[in-house]
């Protein structure tokens, strides 16, 4: 499920960079904490809304608010809806 090239990964939008208040679809999870992210509810093709930024950011997945660090958000790749 990983990106095939570094360029592809670097040019994709991740949840850490995504704009607050917008809705996205999770395209891919890529990084060492995928398992942890999947367990709490981040899965490919799910919709996610970024609620706030900060040291830890907040987003809404399936009507549930989840707080996560930027390091984790960088492993969630999204596309704008």
């Amino acid at each position: 499920m990983a990106f095939t090239t570094e360029l592809e990964r670097d040019s994709a939008l991740n949840l850490s960079q995504a704009a607050v208040g917008c809705e996205f679809q999770i395209k891919q999870l890529d990084g060492p904490s995928c398992k942890q992210l999947r367990e709490i509810g981040f899965c490919e093709e799910m919709r996610v809304r970024k609620v706030s930024n900060g040291r830890n950011l907040i987003c809404a997945v399936c009507g549930t608010r989840l707080a996560l660090s930027h390091k984790l958000a960088e492993q969630v790749f999204v596309t704008a809806l």
Partner: protein, 694 residues
């Protein structure tokens, strides 16, 4: 608690994510009759009850610790996995699983449902929070979902009791058969599962296919040491996974992909969204509660309210306890003739235990308030806010709740560290937690502070300083230790669910508070009772030939021990009495007060604890050294105070730390480290103060 008596009963386990309403449903199904115990070998709470189905069958219902998946991160989740896999020797495998699922958040909850079905056990899905899902514009068809998952699905709303009867009716006998796995993998994956199953069967393992799937689907389960799993099984699984990877198949990725596809298919068939979710009440509250600046005011106001109410409201029941102790002492004293037995019961047991039980109201109130904060959903927000502060010293936001509990009592605080995912951060939190000023220190402060400062405002400021010093030291030491332990590199990233705000489940909170209260009373009735009897005996025997109370202390075994250790405590400015009182309170710091009272032969005033403390203070103020100077000048009192702020002096805490860290090394290192720290701090205060001319 052993389940021995229920061995013959069919066992039903409640399984679901944390915060999904599992406990509320448990209470609805059982009518709140429950037994609380521990799973053998781990300090994970086991909650169970015996219930009757509408058809008259009796069964045991077990509320398993909440988990997001069967690939666990914390000790609680590991218990759930091991019990469900049947690997927990002391705990029978359930006969049926009730999987509690949040109807409003199916995509997040169904991955666990699929994993449970794959265990080969009958599963019944309780589709909870259907009212919330409908309010969000979600239309669900439980029958279609049931067809998709191959297991019965019952819609319910645990908070209002809706659907609970239907859920009970679904627990009919014979229990439904286990459903088949809902997905079929590629030929290579299916071959790997079948092949590994055969190898596990040859190793004599029960449920080989279930274990094979678990081993191929969870890297940690096959790589990290698992006490409940044979090493040979892990070796076989690693070989199987390596063979798959050679064929460009990562088994865990493939399994996740197949589960995700199955879930998407089920949701598409069974759920329809009728409209978009608008801004909820939780969102509106969060705008204030999580505001970068306003959120901190909100937080500070809540913390202030907690501490204010503890000191303001707990006074009333504390006075009742005081009166109760006084009357009991009078009554028992009147029943028996004067003598050693009378003295043991009244001066030893009732007075000693009473001096500890008096703090029960404060402990109960703090746990009640913490329980309400947790139940309302605000505690997760506090954890989120505090992560910024905690991260500066190497701790996690999840260390906040244990540290807050530490203000009441270190023991539940240490136990609450189980929610911290990183072992190193958890250890660090446990190591510094006893520096939080717990309520057991309050009686010591109540004696010492008025000796230093007469004004009420000054005393309040001093209390604030004590709390600040304790917490400040805990955070400072955490920062220093985090570098040594190497927390930085290993700390997992912050990830936390912020549940919607809601009314707390009051019955659950009250029950929890009651459990804590009973645990405290058990401690007072066992360890502290033992210590007070021992102290009474050491202070009473051998009897002074003169028969005078004033001579008794010096003549007694306790007085002799005090004189023996005097050279050690002299550099702190202490005399034999203070040395003995500190030595006596090494296992439980609360004992300091009764020991000082015994050594000054102060009789407790049964109606007035304040007068009793005032008498102790007068006795201390009036004490003179042989040269006529005061025996306890302010600098000495300050040195004692500093020692009590920093010393561990709590045997049950050391026992719990050993149990939680599974290491005597850490428990004893903490005891030795904190005692030495306290001694050095008191030494520096006294010697430094003396040099400066105080």
């Amino acid at each position: 608690m052993s389940t021995g008596e229920n061995n013959a009963l069919p066992k039903v386990a409640l399984v679901g994510h944390p915060n999904v309403g599992k406990t509320t449903l448990f209470n609805q199904l059982t009518g709140e009759r429950r037994k609380v115990g521990n799973y053998a070998g781990v300090t994970v709470e086991k909650v169970s009850a015996t219930i009757f189905t509408p058809h008259g069958h009796q069964l045991e219902l077990v509320d398993l610790p909440g988990c997001y998946s069967l690939t666990p991160e914390s000790p609680d989740e590991r218990v759930t996995r091991d019990v469900l896999l049947g690997d927990f020797a002391e705990e029978a495998r359930p006969d049926l699983i009730i999987n509690v699922v949040d109807a409003a958040s199916l995509e997040r909850h169904l991955p666990l449902t699929l994993q449970l079905i794959e265990l080969g056990l009958p599963v019944l899905v309780a589709l909870n929070q259907v009212d919330r899902a409908e309010a969000k514009g979600l239309r669900l068809n439980p029958q279609v979902l049931s067809d998709e998952l191959g297991v019965p699905v019952v819609a319910c709303q645990a908070t209002s009791g809706k659907g609970v009867v239907q859920l009970k009716q679904a627990l009919r006998f014979p229990l439904p058969p286990a459903a088949e796995r809902r997905w079929k993998g590629s030929a290579a994956l299916e071959h790997a599962i079948a092949d590994l199953s055969k190898k596990l069967e040859a190793l004599g393992m029960e449920r080989p296919e279930v274990h094979a799937l678990q081993l191929l689907g969870d890297t940690d389960y096959r790589v990290k040491v698992q006490p409940k799993l044979p090493r040979e099984a892990q070796i076989a699984a690693r070989e199987a996974a390596a063979a798959c990877i050679k064929e460009n198949l990562v088994p865990e990725d493939e399994i996740i992909k197949l589960r995700t596809q199955t879930i998407r298919r089920a949701i598409t068939a069974a759920a329809h969204t009728m409209g978009n979710e608008g801004e909820t009440l939780s969102d509106k509250i969060d705008r204030a509660a999580l505001h970068p600046i306003g959120g901190w005011f909100f937080f500070a106001a809540i913390m202030f309210a907690i501490f204010w109410s503890i000191f303001r409201f707990a006074e009333i029941p504390m006075h009742w306890v005081e009166l109760g102790v006084g009357y009991t002492k009078d009554w028992v004293g009147g029943l028996l003739p004067e003598g050693d037995l009378n003295s043991l019961l009244t001066d030893g047991i009732i007075e000693g235990v009473g001096a500890v039980v008096i703090f029960l109201p404060q402990i109960l109130l703090l746990f009640l308030l913490i329980g309400l904060l947790e139940g309302s959903g605000y505690m997760s927000r506090a954890t989120f806010l505090m992560d910024k502060v905690m991260a500066q010293v190497g701790l996690s936001g999840k260390s906040f709740l244990p540290l807050l509990s530490g203000y009441a009592c270190a023991i539940p605080g240490v136990m609450a560290t189980r929610s911290i995912n990183s072992n190193k951060q958890r250890l660090l939190t446990i190591l510094v937690l006893p520096w939080q000023s717990c309520t057991a220190r309050l009686p010591v402060y109540a004696i010492l502070i008025p000796l230093l400062i007469p004004s009420v405002l000054g005393q309040t400021t001093m209390m604030f300083f004590i709390y600040f010093l304790g917490t400040g030291t805990a955070l400072g030491v955490a920062w220093l230790l985090s570098k040594r332990i190497g927390v930085g590199e290993a700390a997992p990233h912050f990830l936390l669910e912020l549940p919607p705000y809601r009314l707390p489940d009051f019955s659950y909170v009250f029950r929890h508070v009651l459990d804590r209260g009973l645990a405290f009373l058990r401690k007072a009735g066992s360890l502290i009772l033992g210590i007070v009897i021992l102290l009474w005996a050491l202070g009473t025997y051998p009897k002074a030939p003169s028969g005078e109370e004033q001579d008794q202390f010096n003549y007694s075994a306790m007085g002799r021990i005090g004189h023996f250790i005097e050279p050690v405590v002299k550099p702190l400015g202490w005399d034999a009495r203070l040395g003995t009182a500190t030595l006596a309170s090494f296992a439980a710091r609360e004992v300091f007060v009764s020991q000082v009272a015994v050594s000054f032969a102060v009789e407790e005033d049964e109606d007035d604890e304040d007068a009793f403390r005032a008498q102790i203070r007068t006795a201390m103020t009036d004490s003179r050294k042989p040269d006529g100077s005061p025996a306890y000048p302010p600098l000495t009192v300050f040195s004692v105070l500093i020692f009590y702020i920093y010393a561990l002096q709590c045997l049950p805490t050391t026992a719990v730390v050993q149990r939680e860290t599974k290491s005597w090394k850490w428990a004893l290192a903490q005891l030795a480290g904190m005692s030495l720290f306290a001694y050095l701090a008191a030494l520096i205060v006294y010697q430094g103060g003396s040099l400066l001319g105080f």
